[in-house]
Each structure stands twice: as C-alpha cells, then as structure tokens.
C-alpha cells in the first residue's frame, strides 16, 4: 500500500471512509522510518509507542463520531518544540538528557486535533545553521542524494517529509530555516507572519525573528496544518490577537488579477544557472495563470544578511544565557567553583557554531559597541521593512528564489561561516520584516530540487497559500518523490 504518497486531505478522507485505521496508517509510517532513518538520520527520537497510543485514541474518536479533519494523521515535530515527558534536545549536547516538563502550544494544538506524534526531528543545534551539520546528533542526509545536505536548520523535518517518513512536519524559521531546507529537498514550507503561531514551549533562538510553521509536500497540506497551529495564545507575549483566516476555504482563490512583484534585487546578483532559469519559468507560469507581474525594488535588501548577523547573534547570546548548568541541561564534571561550572558546562554543552554566535552577540552588545552594531542593525531593519511595505502598496505578493543553489555537498561549507550564512540571502528579509513567506518546489537542477519563494504582506498567509496552490494545480514538482523512497 502506498499510503505515504497521499496528501493530508486524501489521508483524512481514507480514514473517514475506514479504508484503513489510524493504527494501520501510523504503522505504515513507523515501518518506513525503521527502514530509512538509519541512513537519513532525520529523526533524533522515534516515539513509536506514543504514536500507536495516539493512533488508537484517534480510531476511538473516529468510532465515537468526534473525529476532525486531522484526527489520525501522523506528524513529525522538530526537536525544538517541547513535548511533555519526551526528550527535547534542540540538536544540542546541552539538552541531550532534557525531558520537557510541558507541551509547547504547537504540540498541544496538534495533539488536541487528534494528530499522531511519530517523533522528533533532527536539526541544526539551537536552529543555528543552514545545512543541519551543526547538530550534536550528526548531519541529516538529503533524500535526493545522500552525499548532499538537506538544508537547515529544519533539515530533519525537511528530510522526513521529502522521503515520506511523515506526511507533515513542523519547522521553525529565524532566517530561512523552514524555506531553505524545503527548497533543498523539494517540498513546500511556510513561515507565517511574526506572532501568528505561538512560540510558547518553542526553544528560543532570536526572539524578534523566530516563528513556527509547517513543512509538507503541498500548499494544501500546509494550509490544513497551519489552520490548527495558528492563532492567539496568551502564554506567548508576542502572539497576535487577531482572527485566523480559513486557509483551506480560501485555498482555491484564483490567481487571475493577482499582482506579483518581481524583486529586482533578488535577480541581479549571484542568481546564475539553472536556479535562475527555473525561477523565471515560474514567472511565466504565473503570467499564464493570469497574474500581473510587476518589477519592484527593495534597495536595502542586499543588507539583510549583515543585518541579521548582528541581530540574531545578539538575541541568541541573551536567550542562551539560560543554559547555566544549574537548573537543566549539561553540567561539567567536578566543577571547582561556580564560574568554572558555568564556563565548562557551556563550553562542553554547546557546539562550535552556537559558541561562535553567542560570542558574536556578546561582542556586539558589549559596552561601547551597542550603538555601532545592534542599534545600527535595527535601523537598517527599519529601512528594509519600509521598503517591503512600499512594495506591498503596488503588489499583492513578492516572488524570488529561495536559495542561491540546490543542495550542496556535506562538509562543503562547514569551515567557512560567511559562505554558509549567504545561503539565506533570499530568505532573511522576510524574517527581518516579520513577513509571511513560503517556498514551493519549481523544478530540478540535474537530480536536485529547486524552490521558488513567495513573500506576502503581514497576515497574508491565505494569499500565499492560494497562489502556491494555483501553481501546484498546474505542475507536479511537489508530487515527486526521490526514487529510493517511492
């Protein structure tokens, strides 16, 4: 049976028709995980017993007539989301033995909707990375080519969806961590507006940028899951009190008349070769669907990456100060005194990239440097945000590439942080401005998938999803599965 090739809506219909039970569906995915995870290293923790218990509860709910649209659908959680009673590592040695004492809101809402927890996915340590190579648990392999990275930081979530070891996975995106891996493994991924999804119980990296979202084969799948996790949560002080649109109902809004802005700055530097050609073909496809394409300019956008590498490390150095070896997390052996305990616990518990970012952040926030770095970066951020805002007075959505290249070789960029940081050159702008953005597959460069990015105005998720869905209604890139995982 090829249940793993079905969409969320098809799986939901199959469960409703009793073609298969939630237990059978769950077992199908657990079997696929047992077979392929040793190679992909995409799950850090597989929660088989919990999954089967969830599935039995889903079947009982179905029998009782209380099932919803997601009841019995399996899901993988990025290991950044706290799961009550289940190890939550954030890809770090620091949290190797951390058993979360409560559920994050994202996990809680998906459980309440009757979904089945398959496991926790591998990720760059504390979500800091673009290749999944900074994980304490080792890199994830790209299902399309095991010698390539899956992107990051949500590399495990990307790989489990691409290899169909889960129908859907959660992700988080601080500078592109949902969209870039989605592009590199040929799936869809949406980063909602800042504040749209609660971050309660989501381990913090950079608090003015972090946002949770969904990774799945199609925009339609993303819509169904985003519906469940979006919405106000009083436990997150950045959560926005504003109604959530009906994403599924608005999914079929036609593209005709939609004004799509071609961001000039996205197309003029470093976008050579097949990625550029594939993204240009998407523009033609939207034109054929009746969209109006308009060139727009955001001149400060090329400053996104340097702006981000001040703001994000500054906030990370503050957020990660909570890991002190006292209340939870790794503690060094035989500390001489309190200072030794702090320094060695943190020195041993954090990996090289996390330490690099903590130190960058510590420096830019230190006395005498705050104005020159953090304040300056926040001013440039205002410039970038204002340019996006001006663009959205002319167009409904913006379009550009997601990543400058397809998946690169494992190990290719680990020794050169700046080159690694530039992977996110097209994605960071949306985080700096708090905008919703999504990546969808748009073709192949050789055997490797390529993604295209759509960016919307604040709370424009519905329009992003319907534009992506319109494209996916006339293309089949989102249905392609790597040959080894069919």
């Amino acid at each position: 049976m090829s249940l793993h090739t079905l969409s969320v809506a098809e799986l939901s219909a199959g469960l409703a028709r009793k073609d298969y039970s939630a237990v059978e569906l769950t077992q199908h995915f657990l079997d696929r995980i047992s077979l392929s995870n040793p190679v992909l290293n995409a799950y850090v923790t597989i929660t088989a017993e919990r999954a089967l218990a969830d599935a039995r509860a889903a079947d009982a709910s179905r029998a009782a007539g209380t099932a919803g649209v997601l009841t019995g659908i399996p899901v993988a959680q990025k290991d950044i989301f706290c799961t009550d009673g289940i190890r939550t590592t954030c890809g770090s040695r620091m949290l190797d033995n951390f058993v979360a004492p409560y559920d994050s809101t994202v996990v809680e809402r998906l459980s309440a909707a009757g979904t089945v927890l398959l496991g926790k996915t591998n990720m760059d340590e504390f979500a800091m990375g673009s290749s999944n190579e900074t994980s304490w648990y080792g890199p994830v392999r790209n299902p399309w080519d095991h010698s390539k990275v899956p992107g990051g930081s949500s590399g495990g979530s990307a790989a489990v969806v691409a290899a169909r070891l889960a129908p859907v996975a959660t992700g988080t995106d601080t500078g592109g961590s949902i969209r870039q891996p989605a592009a590199l493994v040929g799936i869809s991924g949406i980063k909602p507006t800042y504040g749209r999804v609660s971050r309660y119980g989501m381990i913090a990296f950079a608090s003015s940028l972090d946002q949770a979202g969904i990774m799945a084969p199609s925009a339609a799948d993303c819509a169904l899951f985003l519906q469940t996790i979006a919405g106000f949560d009083p436990r997150d002080s950045t959560s926005v009190e504003r109604p959530v649109a009906d994403y599924a109902a608005e999914l079929t809004t036609p593209v005709k008349g939609l004004r799509i802005g071609i961001v000039k700055e996205f197309f003029e530097r470093g976008l050579e070769g097949p990625t550029g050609a594939l993204v240009n073909a998407v523009l033609e496809q939207y034109r054929a669907l009746g969209a109006e394409l308009v060139e727009v300019s955001c001149p400060s956008l090329p400053l996104s990456v340097p702006t981000y590498y001040v703001v994000a490390p500054a906030e990370c150095s503050s957020n990660l100060s909570r890991f002190d070896g006292v209340r939870f997390g790794h503690r060094c052996e035989n500390p001489r005194d309190l200072m030794d305990l702090y320094k060695r616990s943190r020195g041993e518990g954090f990996g090289a990239e996390v330490k690099r970012r903590i130190m960058t952040g510590t420096y830019v926030l230190s006395a005498g440097y705050y104005d020159a770095y953090y304040l300056k970066a926040q001013k440039v951020r205002s410039l970038i945000t204002a340019e996006f805002k001006a663009a959205f007075t002319k167009v409904d959505l913006l379009i550009g590439p997601t990543s400058p290249t397809p998946a690169f070789d494992l190990g290719a960029k680990v020794d050169d942080p700046i080159t690694m940081y530039l992977n996110d050159i097209y994605t960071i702008g949306a985080n700096l401005a708090g905008l919703p953005a999504m990546s969808i597959p748009c073709g192949f460069d050789g055997h490797l998938p390529v993604g295209v990015q759509l960016i919307g105005p604040h709370f424009g998720e519905s329009r992003l999803l319907s534009a992506a869905h319109a494209y996916q209604s006339v293309t089949d890139f989102h249905r392609r599965i790597p040959a080894a995982y069919v």
Binding site: N97, V99, P101, T193, Y194, G195, L209, P234, S237, T238, V240, S300, L303, P306, T307, Y309, V310, S317, S321, D324, V326, R327, F328, G329, H330, R331, P335, L338, M339, D340, L341, K343, R344, R346, G347, F350, K355, R356, I358, M359, T360, T362, Y363, V364, S366, A372, L375, K376, A377, Q378, K379, V380, R381, S382, T385, P417, I418, A433, G434, H458
Partner: protein, 96 residues
Amino acid sequence: MSLTRPQVEGIAHLARLQITEAELPVYVDSLSKILSFVEQLSAVDTGSVEPMAHPLEGESQRLRADDATETDRREKYQANAPSVSGALYIVPRVIE
C-alpha cells in the same frame, strides 16, 4: 575589523564559555571575518531612521495581569536539574 587573542578571550569570559587553546585561533579568525562582514552596515545612511522596536507596526509587547496562574510543578521541573536537594538547586560553594 580584526580581533586579537586577548579580545576573544575577553568575549568568551563575558559569555561564560570555556574555549580551548585549539579553538581559540579558529574563533579569532572567524569572529574577525564576521565583524568585517557586518561592518558594511556602518556605511548605510540611517540618519533619521528609527530603530525597529517590533516587527509588526503598532504592536508592542503585551503585558498580562499580575495574577498567579501557574500551578506548582517544582518536582517535575527539578527532575531535569543536574543536582538538587529538596527544593534547592546545588552548586559549588559560593561563599568561602
């Protein structure tokens, strides 16, 4: 922008991170490169621009009423601590 070894040692101390002798030159090099890279921001004219205070216009940090809403889950929370004694977290002697 080039950082010196003592500067990086100072940053590591502020960040409460033990850095090994082998790691130190790697951080001197990479932190210098990162600071040189972000240096380009200083050339941007931001004269009258207000620094961003919140990614969403008009939004600000919401405050809740000062009511106790959490239940006592001390034992569950302490289960993750490396060393506890009763309600206390144990650390090396601070006062000699």
